[in-house]
Amino acid sequence: MDSPAANAAFAKQIGVTFPLLSDMNKKMLTAYGILKGYDVQSENYQWALRANIVIDKNGVIQHIEEGDSAVDPNTAVSVCTKLHGKEESK
């Protein structure tokens, strides 16, 4: 997992406008069940799965994608746009 310092350097490099978060102790990844274990040379290593998750204003999960399909953020973005549209029409 990356440290905040590594994320800061990356954020500067790519010019992001949203926070890049670090889960150094894997708390969030564990809580969300996103870690995957690999046995390599009799040691177990844990990597996170790639995932896109959309959480609405009420804290309810509205969309989950994992693995290869999570490389493309467009579906998750359209879910966000729909959520925003629903709020506007209220």
Partner: protein, 77 residues
């Protein structure tokens, strides 16, 4: 500016076996995200790239959150 909040969770890991590609034959533990649509998202507090704490529940009632777990992004960390 769109009102929904994009929060990126970037988790790039230094390859521990950079010199050799990961063998395909190892045992892989089945992993599946335990959560499903309609569940309440577990709260978390994490450090951002500007060393500020970001808490999911701080957005409750304010913004929608797009959480992207992005591994192997080559941040070097």
């Amino acid at each position: 500016m769109k009102r929904w909040m994009a929060a990126g969770l970037l988790l790039a890991m230094t390859p521990m076996m950079a010199a050799s590609p990961r063998p395909q034959a190892q045992k892989e533990e089945a992993a599946k995200i335990a959560l499903k649509v309609g569940d309440t998202a577990p709260d978390f507090t994490l450090l951002s790239d500007s060393w500020k704490t970001v808490k999911l529940s701080d957005f409750r009632g304010k913004k929608n959150v797009f959480l992207a777990v992005y591994v192997l992004a080559f941040t070097g960390g």
